[in-house]
Amino acid sequence: MKASKLKIAAAIIEYLTETKSSPNSNSRKPSAEEKLMGQILRDNHEAIKLTPPEHILHFLQLKQSVEPVLFSRFQNIFMHLKPSLIAPVIVIIVSIFIVWKPRERKIPLSFAAIGQEFARIPTEYILEKSGIRISVARTGEIAIENKGLKDHIFLKQGSWQISASHQLFKKETWFHFPGGGIKPLGTNLSIDIENDGTKVNLKKGKIQTYFVNKFHRLEKSTIETAPYAHEFPAGVDLVSFPEGDGLTSQADEIVKYSEADQIDKLAEENSSVYQNFIGATISVIHGNGSVISGVLEYVYGGKLNIKTKSGLVEVIGNNMLLVSLDATRLPSSQNSFFRETK
């Protein structure tokens, strides 16, 4: 079947300016130009598509199913009840809530998704972002605040388990709780918020701490290495991170002294590894769960430029979870280039 360039150009212009979504699809056999046009449009649509991380749907389902549905169901029940029955029904519902234990399930939620308000997180939920993994042993309250290049996580209640490996390479993250706060520097620790104080138990790695005195002011900032355990006093907490209150500059100085060399070394090492694979087909798992596959075009300034089906995609090296030379073997420790970046 022969196609004419003139007719192809005309078909493109006609498609652009017509009001329908796709070219004519009547019963006659399509011409070569129409077939080509159809292929181009299919290519366009397929190239744009990118599967979002699975946790987004989980989170949306969770969010839409908990509050509005429960509220509307209760509203419906009470609207149809006789006034004398309302009190017994309330008693029954409260009893059910006390006895009922939520099913154990783990759903990753992105920090940004939580928002800045305190949100109640039920048992065994996991939060993942920037290489940090947090789980709560029982119901806890958490709020996330993003300020420029830093994440601030406020823990109000609960017993928390935090793992933050290779934190050096991620966004700076501070955890604030009653009595003080910490910044993990490659750690495994637990935080138990009790009525009489907050117990911090560092099992592995390092943390940077701060304390809040009874006047709700910052007292000091130190770097602690494992094993370290401390009980922060109850009843004193900061509601927002005190930028310019002395901690930031002091903390930055300490971090610079202790981490700067390692950051440079790791950045250099990573960059040289990726340089060796320019031209190869690689697959990258992005920090947010997306998988990007394509040919590594070039590496510049810690960013990998990957030529995918949908064009050139720039991925910041620090945002990558895994890189593999072969998509079919991902994730496998057998692959020589398989590399855990976090």
Binding site: I8, I13, D43, P52, K309, G311
Partner: protein, 178 residues
Amino acid sequence: MSDVSIEKEWEAIYRENSSMLYGYLVKKTGFDQASDILQESFLKLLQSMKKNRKIENPKAYLFQTARNIISTEYNKNYLAVSTELSVNYEDKKVNVETQMLKKEVNNLIETAKHLLSKSELDLFELRWYMGFTQVEIAVIMEKSERQIRRDIEKIGVKIRNVFNDNGWGADDMEGIEL
């Protein structure tokens, strides 16, 4: 309609449209912001559905919402800047001639994109890559259909000129075997 059936319908819309919207948002704003905007867009769609608002075209509604979020909460310029909404036509299923022809079309389109203004480029991407109709684009961009039609005609003229300048304006008698 009950809440359960609304949620089922909403989930079907998510499964059908999320990958295209997410791909578009990643190209426009990057991975981190794309996830947030995607979530917010689908939550707004669900809220509207639960309020029994009639949404005739959920796909257009989602793109419109997402673009509104970008322009209000992020940087308006994200919408006007074409990052890498280009297509690599390497398809092993088609013959070499067809592949070459597709690449040539792609190159001409890329050339033509440089001649478009920011708002024209924005409109062109919605039509060429996403396949939205003029009516849908009018909804998404919150403009009149007449305005969209006029803008698309202008884009058509610019693209036609690029094709003509590159020898696609005259009939090639022999044609290309596909």
